[in-house]
Symmetry: C2
Subunit: 290 residues, 2 copies
DNA sequence: GCGTTTTGTGACGATCCGAGTCAACTACCG
DNA sequence: CGGTAGTTGACTCGGATCGTCACAAAACGC
């Protein structure tokens, strides 16, 4: 990927950090040359000459470039190291302010929070991992985790594995169903006390080729909390998860049944437990392939 | 209901972090209540009800809120702590990527950099302090620093004072002209070996009341490097500095003469040194306004 | 069961900001 | 003195966002 230095990447990032197109382009151009005039910048950055001045003016007020008020003017970017450090500090301050101000105005609601009584959905790999970690943390007896590993995304980050091990250490039984060799080995190595089963859950993977979504992770904690994430390969957002921490809802029933195929080797009796519940048919019977 | 004026601050910050107006408002509203429906959010956040859905949808893809797909839908913000951490991580990644990509494409220029041969201007307190610190660091013999302290802005941050002391430790003579009592004392306490003079430089402060700019700091290093910053009280950007690290230009001459009033007590002879130079005028006399 | 209210989805116009172009003004050079 | 290059400001255009509305679907009350 080092074929053609994609100089559009830093521009993109700088835009995300709040710079305008011209500002970002001009700055990147300036980092590629010891110093430059408006004309040179215009040529390197593909920015209209007459707009370079505005852009650089802004950049200067940010402290990212130095300006020489000669004729013609000459511009110079501060070292990359310095620039990144500058921006980082700036945003760090914002994060601090954000937390303060958010915590300051938070109290408004008076109703007690009725935590976990239904099914929620969460987006974003980070947030989902966070939720999964919380679930694992709260486990008292049993954890069942099925992963569709062996791909690009990192569904088993350090902290999640750490929490899994912590769970085993405190006596929680951990079952892991791995759908790929890599995940299988990795989990086994990191979490010694785990019970790994190569489940018969291959059907979790795309059943119809056309579908652009596939299962990411499936987590069942203490037979009451369930998290199921899907990953859309489309251009839209990445991982989305539905989860619940309350027992007795449809999702839990489904989750149990999904896991039953792999679990009944380990604990056959539990299968019976919700077989009764399943027999009268959930309305949630989505995706029941023929 | 009750609109506290300060709840607009987190919204502002969130916008700076890339969220849209409605997204920011909705999120802040959600942090103020354990959970809420679209209607409630609409009322708290002053966002059109029908647009709450779009906003929350985005927030969910960011991982900042959880969505309950019931009827009516219910929304819930992740804890503030978590949200800030999430955003912080996200931006940290961007900074890393930025640095990598910037350093990857940097080499383009072929002309050797002719460092410091003229007058530059820099914007932003951070960047200016950075530049000043570099100057102090490079000092070998003498440092002259005049501060207009006694105000809101922090023109003498820790690191600058530290560098000043380091300079004295390595044998550099440091003169400090303090225009206010507070600055005077602070510098004296932090930098033991310093020569402090209460200069006759009061004229550095606004001479005409209408002017909205005043001198921030004036730094002269080794009789060759000069940094002069002004602070505009206006609505525009804050501190701006002009500086040069080359001897013999007009700014240096001016800077020396400016300091002469305070310095000739300490070293009267130097005043004569550039009196001759100033008389016949430099060719670099750019910006010779008036 | 039926009508009303609330909720969710989509579309539409208004508005704002940034991108891009142009022309005029100023400073430098021959 | 005229030509060239540099610099600034004003202008148009387009896309994104804001704000409103209309309508279908679902829930609720009688």
């Amino acid at each position: 990927m080092s074929k053609e230095p994609n100089q559009s990447e830093p521009i993109e990032i700088l835009r995300e950090l709040g710079l305008k197109e011209y500002e970002a382009r001009s700055f990147v151009a300036l980092t590629r040359v010891p110093q430059g005039s408006a004309k040179e910048i215009s040529e390197i950055a593909a920015v209209p000459r007459t707009r370079v001045y505005d852009a650089v003016d802004q950049l200067q007020s940010y402290g990212l470039v130095d300006v020489q008020h000669s004729t013609p003017q000459r511009f110079r970017a501060i070292p990359v190291e310095e620039a990144v450090a500058l921006l980082r500090r700036e945003f760090d301050d914002r994060f601090d302010s954000l937390r303060e101000s958010l915590e300051a105005v938070e109290p408004v609601g008076d109703e007690a929070l009725e935590s976990g009584a239904n099914v929620w959905t969460t987006g974003g790999e980070e947030a989902i991992t966070s939720r999964a970690t919380q679930f694992v943390d709260s486990a008292e007896e049993e954890i069942v985790l099925v992963l569709d590993g062996g791909d690009d995304t990192e569904l088993t980050p350090e902290r999640l594995l750490d929490q899994l091990r912590a769970a085993t250490d405190r006596g929680v039984t951990v079952y892991v169903g791995a759908l790929s060799e890599g995940t299988y080995e990795e989990v086994r190595a990191r979490v010694p006390g785990v019970e790994v089963f190569e489940s018969e859950l291959e059907w979790l993977q795309p059943q119809t080729e056309k579908e652009s979504e596939r299962i990411g992770r499936l987590l069942l904690v203490d037979r009451g909390k369930v998290l199921l994430s899907s990953i859309s390969s489309g251009s839209s957002n990445g991982e989305t998860a539905i989860w619940s921490d309350s027992v007795g809802n449809g999702l839990t029933i489904i989750g149990r049944r999904l896991l039953a195929a792999g679990l009944d080797r380990e604990a056959e009796n539990l299968d019976n437990a919700e077989r009764g519940a399943g027999s009268h048919g959930e309305t949630e019977g989505e995706n029941r392939d023929g």
